[in-house]
Amino acid sequence: MIFIHSKIKKLISAYLDNEVNDREKNLVEEHLKKCTFCRKYYESLQKLSSTLDKYKEEDLSPDLEQRIKFNFLGERYKGVAKMKNKRLIFGISSGALAILLTFVFVGHMYDYLRHSAQGRLQGGVYSSAAREYEPTTGVRTHGRLGASADGIGEQYSPALVSGKQNKNDLERFKSSGDTRWITTTDNSSAAWQSVGYAGGGSFDKPLSVSAIEGAAQEGPIVIVEPYLPATGKEDKLIRNAEATLEVENIQKVYDDIVKIGKGNNGYLAAANFNESTSGKVSAQIILRVPKEKFEETITEVRKLGQVKKFSINSIDISQDYNALVSELNTIKTVYDKIAEKLKEKKTDIQQAVRLESQLTPIAKRIEVIRNKISQYDNLIAVSTITINLYEVSWKLMIKESIKETKQHFAAFVSGLLKNSIGLFLLLAMVCTALIALAVLKPKIVKVVKMIFTKKSS
């Protein structure tokens, strides 16, 4: 019943305005005859209409009427349209300026962040810039530096220089003001033996110019020219690699590493598992593989987890190896000569005993050198890969990422504050964007509405 009344009330409103069809008209009239409540409502609406008609009508002020009549195409209302056009132009230009400023700001901040990031890398532990040597002075240096951070060894070949040449070279060396790694020796012929390897060698101290001069006066100096970097093919290289991986399951990765080792004809040299008090599991696995399979194995290992640290280390033992081979050849010649004399049976017993006693230490030396060479051969033939593993701790990761985000944000804000141009650009960008948005909002809404109505139609 209430529903019928509310519906009839709506119809009564339209009925009073003569906006109902015949069916609705009959319905309302029939209902009004029966229902006193709706009849009262009908009467109240009639009264309302007459009350509303009491509203005084206004008229234009005479001066304005005159102005409008006089200026139907007058400047005043042209001015309104002009203002609108000006507003549009202002809005569009503000928008364009905001976009331009955004580009400039983004470019500026990108440049700034890139430079600051480069600065951090150069100052940090990741410095791996290769040192460059330019032997422009003509002074020859010799020796070998330890493998650099990126794993590329730098090799120098020895060359003997006479004392006179040394003095000439030394003058040029002094004039250039350069100091390099050099080696001195008393005996030119024994120079080869003085060349050490892997930190035990003969060029571990940089000598001052005065020291070099003094050495030149005392005896011959052996200065060796730098050589092209080792290629790793012809040279005697001991190659090692170390990788630190972040993995989800250490046991699974361990099994995978064993498989990789076997697949590449290698073997597991050592494995060490550790669990810290905080429950963090870590492991160290040492894998040995033939040198031909070195790169292949590394590539496979790197795929097992997220690489956090990685280095390849090549130790060049060519000089030491060659020195041992030369020494072996020399000693063997001496040994053969003595042995030949003994075989001739022309010597008396006393002489034979003396020769025999000379032969024994030489034989021992030959054995030592052979052992060393075979040890080197083994080291060269099989490369060592040390793999450090640690499990991902999700809680730790989240903590670290929050910390990193905070740091980055702080760096960004401090960068902005320090960088007044960036701050100015940001403010200008925001202001112009806001102005453009405020001015163009009705236009944008209109265009969007137009697009949607077109689509829907």
Binding site: S13, A14, L60, R76
Partner: protein, 191 residues
């Protein structure tokens, strides 16, 4: 009496006399329509000027298919809405709340012509009708004003407000309901 559409077509053909006639016919309705919507006489006068400027500048876009009154009220509706938008931006910082907690815009130049400065005006029904209409939401106000004071049919109102006929019916019904409640004591006085 000649139809509005005929006069407009004459104006389109270049007759300035026809334009004068249109102005005389519509200056008052447009002024009162704008005044009821904007509650500011200064703004309403500006709307009249702007509407006639638009009428003259866009006369060629008028087609006699549409009723002239619908066309000119549509222009007035758009100009009034534009005014309100502009006013919102300007008076955003002057927004205040009345005793009932409803927010209103405090204008710098209040319209004093309807202010009850005497007991005679206090009893003036017109003042309370204006007050009641002012308090209506904008869309209800527009619908009832076009119907009650400008005699537009529901179809014409739908064209002006760019909405459906059923929506117009609802708007007018709601407006009448709101006004009836508001003006009930004064309607009793009329008896």
């Amino acid at each position: 009496m000649r139809k509005d559409e005929e006069i407009m077509m004459e104006y389109r053909a270049g007759s300035m006399v026809a334009l004068e006639e249109i102005f005389q016919r519509y200056k008052k309705p447009i002024l009162n329509y704008a005044f009821k919507l904007l509650s500011s006489f200064a703004d309403a006068e500006d709307v009249v000027g702007e509407v006639f400027y638009i009428l003259t500048s866009r006369k060629d876009s008028y087609e006699p298919v549409a009723k002239f009154s619908t066309w000119i009220y549509t222009i007035a509706h758009n100009v009034a809405i534009d005014r309100i938008r502009r006013r919102r931006k300007i008076f955003f910082f002057w927004q205040k709340n009345d005793k009932d907690g409803n927010s209103y815009e405090e204008l710098d130049m209040p319209d004093t012509r309807f202010m009850p400065d005497s007991s005679a005006q206090e009893n003036d029904i017109s003042f309370y009708v204006k007050k009641a209409i002012d308090r209506l939401p904008f869309n209800l106000k527009e619908a009832i004003v076009l119907r009650q004071y400008h005699n537009l049919s529901y179809d014409e109102i739908a064209a002006v407000l760019n909405c459906s006929l059923s929506k117009v019916k609802i708007l007018i019904f709601r407006a009448k309901e709101a006004l009836r409640k508001e003006l009930l004591p004064y309607m009793e006085e009329l008896r």
